[in-house]
Symmetry: C2
Subunit: 406 residues, 2 copies
């Protein structure tokens, strides 16, 4: 008998038929003798509708009330699933954040879990029930409902798995695991049996949407064994594990891409200490995240060109902010381009293998694809390229690192 | 400065524009120096949709989980209104049943309020906030959400008004008050300035939909001054008061009707002690409410005809139950008819005036309308007639009692 936490997202509980399918899935685990706790999202689209309601109210949105409104969806699905399980003969009950409670800090809209009191849940499990926990929500200071922000339900699942000492946390999604590349782009993409937390974390940050980076980080920190698998069927998915558990470390385990990038170049910026701070400080104050940054070597010793990327959603605000401060910053031109994509190769094996970046650059050069910006970390190399070349680049890199081979 | 509790129903908060209108209405009271607490229903249709979800789950519906699902709608509207008020510069916060808490018994789906802890609400009011309370919901044993059943939000409002010692409880609805008859039927129907609890209670039981009987009963018991008024505009509505406060007691204050009736007749039932119990006992066990009952005088001294009414929704179940027990009950025929309507005249003045019923019977006879069943109480006379005659009967009675005169 294993203790398992299973998370199902919004598309898995989109309507009553889907909820029944989830219940069947859970019942099979229970029938196999496992002790299961379920964590649910709201029905697909419901949270977005609630967010839209709050936007239509007006300018000032109180984060505390925002959380009251947007947390209602998970309440509905958790009650419905508990009911459905009971109807199938599986004892079950729903748990809202405040009932457990899952205590969080008071940062409404993106609260962090501080503690989970598992006393009542343990009793429920001991009674042979399947607890169905509303994801994404907690209890903050002053007895108020908090929500955990984007991907919060993944985080609830991982935190619960840690608190309950579960043997595994299953994240059920639309796809049946983590792939070497997006199968819609690379026909030869292969599902990975295992991947390390570090790799998954890079992939989540680099645009792979199967898991939220925050949940992966928490799982890594708390040693929770994560599995990404399909909502349908019983095939095993991809296990996310510690580096020691991966036998043969591939140099590169996957190719990811992120379309949500835009490039800004400031030409002839003064090449003196403090200039970067004066450019990026105000952007940070406006909550604009800057990702890749390249500063060219100064040609004349006095000025330099500075290129960096922001998300496309922030591009307009970033440009406006920089134009407002043009006189202070003293650049010649501001160029922006949102027809770019960031393509990355990720793999823990990179640490011990030289030449990973070289192989990437060569593969792209062979395809005639120009690299605009490069950034690297210990276990990934990212390049910014023309968006039109996305498919060709990913396919070429998948081949170059031999990812289709078992 | 008055302390007022204001309740708005589902059509008053049907969308963001309606919620903004409610906020404007509340703001005017606050600007006038009043201390306002608001109680809200879910957006019109949302609770029905939730109920439908629970029905689609399957046969077995756990009442506790049902309450988790159907209480979500009030959470959404209360958060949205608090936000909207803040946006208009009115300090406000939402309160869910468990946060106050409003403690109830454990009868999920139709719980009764046992106590309301007003400590936090009083603090909120003292801070100058407008508390926006989610109606219809409470906190039951075992820290679980309970709901109060049909019309529960009216009940929440009245119970809060009592607990907070409010000077008045305003029930905002689609109509601007209580009328002498349904204005859609009787063009000359007149809005009443005042009506007694007893009359309102009879009217609510007799099909007038402006207020739930349970809320009126609670208001009467706890001495809460109720006002029924429009959600729009600031015109005064109808005050529901103690009998002493009504200057001149009219014999009849209003004519009501209830279409949701069906008639069952059992012919040649044995006329002996205990037969009524054997017929109605099992119906009560099946939660089928029997309303009007008439037993004819026995013609032969051995058998009698028994006629009674049930709600149309229960007719099929009632007939099946009676047919199953045909041999035990020993009746000759079972006749049923759902083309009937119950028309009633209501008034506390009836107590001191003879001839109220006679005037009713004469007015209907003059119209050639046949009376099928009669039932009376201290302050009302009800008759069951052919449904097709509804409009004619109500108009004739409205005239007969001179209700159009001020």
């Amino acid at each position: 008998m294993a203790r398992i936490v299973k998370k199902f997202g919004g598309t898995s509980v989109a309507d009553i038929d889907h909820i029944k399918a989830v219940a069947e899935r859970v019942k099979r685990e229970v029938d196999a003798g496992h002790q299961v706790t379920v964590v649910l999202s709201a029905m697909a689209g419901v949270t977005d509708q609630m967010v839209d309601h709050t936007r239509r109210v007006g300018g000032l949105v109180d984060d505390r009330e925002y959380d009251v409104v947007v947390s209602a969806g998970e309440q509905v699905t958790s009650g419905l699933l508990a009911m459905t399980l009971q109807d199938m003969g599986v004892p079950s009950r729903s748990w809202l954040g405040w009932q457990i409670p899952i205590r969080t800090d008071g940062v409404h809209g993106k609260a962090r879990i501080e503690s989970i009191d598992t006393g009542e849940l343990e009793k429920s499990l001991a009674r042979g029930e399947v607890p169905v926990v509303a994801g994404f929500q907690g209890l903050g200071p002053g007895n108020r409902i908090t929500t955990l922000g984007r991907g919060g339900t993944d985080t609830t699942a991982v935190a619960l798995a840690a608190a309950l000492n579960a043997e595994r946390c299953d994240i059920h999604t639309d796809v049946d695991g983590v792939y070497t590349a997006d199968p819609r782009i690379v026909a030869k993409a292969r599902k990975l049996d295992r991947i390390t937390y570090e790799e998954m974390l890079e992939m989540a940050s680099l645009g792979a949407k199967v898991l939220q980076a925050r949940a992966v980080e928490l799982a890594m920190k708390r040693g929770v064994r994560l599995q990404v698998l399909s909502s349908h069927g019983d095939a095993p998915g991809t296990m996310i594990v510690h580096e020691e558990e991966v036998m043969e470390k591939q140099q590169v385990s996957s190719i990811t891409y992120k379309r949500d990038e835009a490039k800004i170049t400031l030409t002839r910026v003064a090449d003196r200490p403090g200039v970067a701070a004066s450019i990026f400080g105000p952007l940070a104050d406006d909550s604009i995240n800057v990702d890749m940054i390249v500063q060219n070597v100064s040609a004349d010793g006095k000025t330099t060109d500075l290129t960096f990327t922001v998300t496309r959603a922030d591009l307009q605000r970033a440009v406006a902010s920089l134009e407002n401060r043009r006189d202070d910053l003293g650049y010649a031109d501001l160029l922006s381009d949102s027809n770019v994509v960031k393509v990355s190769v990720v793999g823990v094996g990179m640490r011990s293998h030289a030449g990973v970046a070289q192989r990437m650059f060569k593969a792209l050069a062979d395809e005639g694809i120009n690299i605009q910006v490069i950034s690297t970390s210990e276990i990934k190399v990212s390049v910014l390229i023309d968006e039109a070349s996305t498919e060709r680049a990913i396919t070429a890199l998948h081949d170059a690192y031999g990812l289709d081979a078992e």
